[in-house]
Symmetry: C2
Subunit: 606 residues, 2 copies
């Protein structure tokens, strides 16, 4: 089975580019002018090939032999050095960035599709690249010319890697409590002292240097968020033409249950008083800057979630087609002398497969759409379009992060379930992907944090929900034109209207000075928002499918497989719109209600 | 944290015995006449002590060093031999059985509570005992005097262990396809040939012999279920006063992702043509007999699910009380100079804790109630009461198995989530319990099989739903008398009425000859049934709590903790009745609908 796992469905990638989102829109923008469909396809194809031929085949070994700390050095799987070299060769690290900094001005929508293959093949391996990209982008956006020249260029070139070093043992998700201290030194740099934890790729032996983008507090800075600054803290600092040990010690490698190809470490800055850091941007604005990287990282986590659910889904489909067991619920099926059928013939197995498909493909459509908003927010020529896309990107980021984390986890559990007893064995891969997926609801802001962020801040930004409403209305118009079932369209329209009214109602509670009442059911709000947003993706996919099935097939080369392909899209759309979308009514009611069971609960009662 | 985990809340055990179910009812029955409350308490207390002092402390080591196969012998963790000796000493193995076979005539309701501690402490360790009990009970019920004397007595005594050897590699859950062959031998025994897989405790080094209760087909038997017979197949057979190798080879130890203290193995019977088996009961009735063990095993799996969720819940509560991070959503909370608070102060963390509590304690109440139905079905003096209890036991078995498997898994995932980044580390135990829990939706009949069994067979048994309705009505009367909120009572009453009407409607589709239409949404049916049954438990618990809070506290020794204890019960009842129970409306609608997305899906489309 494993040998032929496609990781991501190639046809879905084509459909997203050509029929759903339309990359033509992006190609019309000056920033992307050097490209055409062929260069996009080339990049995606190179990633796909690397993922299938090198990353995926290394996955099991990397899961089995996690990184280890020996004499202060972190050793990762020996395959990883070569894999990283090949990942760098793809040119993805700086691909979306301007040519002026060594980039190729490729849309994020395209690099996301390329990355999806790499993540599905081996999400740990991709992790090194993704973190480096985010860290270098911080230096590009906020660093001095010197920092950019010294560090950013080498990171974009794939020579050194990067990290985001936020979390501290005592503070966890609470960045206001960052306690690492930075003392100004006479040369204009700082000396850092402090401890960080859960720093992904914070130590390894695949490159010569690691550049930590670290949050710290300049000595004497005010307490809280507004006293936190951003520093560039290399593991080895540049002195003349030498690299000098910068007093950044790896004190622990966490024994993670998944993502076992990339280390998560604890770091000690300045144990010998010799850890140099360079301020990035202005003092005390670190959290603000870091949000750029965190927002990018949240989208990356969402894509990780989709990719991890995707590879498991394809494994489950292949297994369900091959594995024979039991007989159909028909008179003939009761005859034990007949041959058992593939388990995909059992309706309940198809339910588990279709649910996975709806989560995976709806999730991928959302993530690429959000990436396209990021492209438009940066590069659209029209200021109003940039603003609109920016609103949508900000609004949808918590959903794009959490939906794949939570529903992707459920999808991965179903992939194990489809494998039955074999799914419970580590000789099959679905259990490994289930372990990998579990992190996505925890890192880069837990699901609870995403919920509070969505309802407490992003959904209340003026114009945000209106922009979403306009997008959905346009989708409904396409669906209507294509002849999609009216009830499906109406259900999505109603969902978005309901969210608008609900948000106004809850926002008023916050505005009245009671944020706790507003956020009482924030997790239900995030969930219903996610369900509705995925329903929108499925309505749009249904419109594409319906149009394709009605006319002559638009892409003759794919027929006759294509009819079945589009039929399956309609089945998944029906599944999501008829079985999951109606669940939001109850969630809306909960958000409105004063249901206070856990709010009123005294923890001492437990 | 770990040192003080209570595994199961002692006060809940008291409440279930004294206030919720009332063990007095059982003590009034002749079969249990030798007992009193003190002997029950003694048994539970002995189990609790063993679980806390020996089983739980060994859990981590057994998870870390799973069984291994060397030269045909399975070696389990070296601690296990001594743990098994101490488990046997508890006297639990034969405790529910009659004195005539070496038992102690203890109610299953009591042994279940005792077992819950043992499972929560170390579910693999308990597994050896539970399987032995079930296998010996099969011999007791259907075996010849000779088989009982030779095997059953030694199993009940804890000298030898037992297994259920049903599954075969090619057949999985489809018992109609059992292909192991039994040829009659001149001495009245049989010679078996065939392969079994996923046999728990099918090989180990903690006892001198293993007695497999195996399904096989007598040569020439008809195809399908009705040609399958039950055999007693010891690993070593008794010849005179010697134990002789019986040609049962362990060919593989499965690399399971959880339950790593108990091996799951593949067996080969008769590779040398010398595997003797003895027919249990009559030919071709094996599936029928095995259902006794399977039904018992399903309840055991449900209890495993509850126990595994319970130990993780207690760990999460302790962690959430100790771990400080962030500040409350108040004006004062915005001041970063104030100290961070324990995370249990955050409403969303309490949501995750209360959800776990609702699942764990609602599940425990259900499992003990079902065990009490088993006691009454066997030992009530009134025939009508025996029949009624038997109907309820049969009806609720799939729910008692699946609810803890599915919702317990969600609860275990929440325990990981509460631990944040630490939850993703194998240095904390929640991830291990999450792995353990995953098996419960797969073994002893997958959740899909339980769904088909509930809706396709058990719920349609005449009188079954009426018996459930009467139980719930009695609970509602208690709740009304205690002054429980009328809306809570009404919601449970309505849920049970809805289930009755829905079942009649779906049953009619089956009776009309369309079982596929009846079972189209069987998984939704199982889910809504489970939610409603747990709502009934919480209504009953609320009635107990309300009564206790209204009057002078019935058990003076517990005050003043008791008021908080009962308040928490009301909070969990509110949570379940107001947030989960309303979800059934949508599920009912789905069951009624012809929503056929996955039913109509051609697997070739995927």
């Amino acid at each position: 089975m494993a040998g032929t796992n496609p990781l991501i469905d190639d046809r879905d990638v084509e459909l997203i580019c050509d029929e759903l989102l339309g990359t033509d829109r992006l190609l019309a923008l000056p920033y992307f002018a050097a490209h055409d469909k062929a260069t996009f396809a080339q990049l995606i194809d190179a990633a796909r090939t690397l993922a299938r031929e090198a990353l995926y085949p290394a996955y099991r070994a990397m899961d089995a032999e996690p990184p280890r700390l020996e004499a202060g050095r972190v050793h990762v799987h020996p395959k990883m050095r070569e894999l990283y070299r090949r990942l760098v060769e793809l040119g993805l690290c700086a691909a979306p960035r301007p040519e002026s900094v060594g980039g190729a001005q490729v849309p994020l929508a395209i690099t996301s599709l390329a990355a999806a293959y790499l993540m599905a093949g081996n999400l740990s391996a991709y992790g090194y690249l993704g973190l480096t990209q985010g860290a270098a982008h911080l230096l590009e956006a906020f660093g001095s010319d010197e920092l950019r020249a010294t560090y950013m260029t080498r990171m974009y070139a794939g020579e050194w890697t990067g990290t985001m070093a936020l979390t501290e043992p005592q503070a966890g998700s609470s960045l206001a409590d960052v306690a690492t201290i930075a003392e100004a030194a006479p040369d204009g740099s700082y000396r850092l002292r402090g401890a960080k934890i859960f720093i992904s790729a914070g130590g390894h032996d695949i490159a010569d240097n690691i550049v930590h983008m670290a949050l710290a507090r300049i000595a004497g800075a005010p307490a809280g968020m507004h006293g936190v600054s951003l520093f560039c803290v290399p593991a080895r600092r540049v002195e003349g033409d030498r690299l000098v040990d910068n007093d950044v010690a790896v004190t622990q490698v966490i024994h993670k249950i998944g993502w076992r190809g990339i280390p998560s470490v604890a770091l000690a800055f300045g144990e010998r008083g010799d850890c140099h850091g360079w301020l990035v941007g202005e003092p005390h604005r670190g959290i603000r800057y870091m949000f750029q990287m965190m927002n990018e990282a949240r989208i990356m986590v969402g894509l990780n979630g989709v990719a991890t659910a995707s590879v498991a889904y394809h494994e489950a489909v292949a297994y369900a087609r091959e594995r024979t067991q039991g007989r159909p619920l028909t008179a003939a099926g009761r005859d034990a002398a007949t041959r058992p059928v593939p388990i995909a013939q059992h309706a309940d197995v198809r339910r588990m497969l279709l649910r996975q498909k709806a989560i995976v493909e709806g999730g991928l459509a959302l993530l690429v759409r959000v990436a396209q908003y990021a492209d438009l927010a940066q590069h659209a020529t029209d200021a109003a379009e940039r603003a609109r896309a920016g609103l949508l990107l900000d609004l949808l980021t918590p959903v794009a992060k959490s939906f794949p984390a939570e529903y992707g986890y459920a999808a991965n559990a179903l992939a194990v379930q489809v494998h039955g007893g074999y799914g419970y064995s580590s000789e099959y891969l679905p259990e490994a992907w289930l372990r990998d997926q579990k992190l996505n609801s925890i890192h880069e802001g837990t699901t609870g944090i995403q919920a509070a962020d969505l309802l407490g801040r992003r959904a209340l930004v003026p114009g945000a929900l209106a922009a979403l409403g306009a997008e959905v209305a346009a989708c409904c118009a396409r669906a209507r034109a294509a002849g999609v079932t009216a009830a499906w369209i109406a259900s999505v329209e109603r969902a978005v209207q309901t969210i608008g009214a609900l948000t106004a109602e809850l926002g008023a509670r916050g505005a009245a000075g009671d944020p706790a009442a507003m956020l009482l059911h924030a997790s239900d709000y995030l969930e219903l928002f996610g369900i509705a947003v995925i329903a929108w993706q499925w309505l749009d996919l249904a419109a594409v499918a319906k149009a394709a099935l009605a006319g002559p097939l638009p892409r003759g080369t794919h027929a006759p497989r294509d009819a079945a392909y589009y039929q399956a899209k309609l089945a998944a759309a029906q599944y999501w719109l008829m079985t999951d979308l109606p669940r939001i009514d109850h969630l809306v009611q909960l958000c409105r209600s004063g249901e206070d069971s856990y709010a009123a609960l005294d923890p001492a009662w437990l």
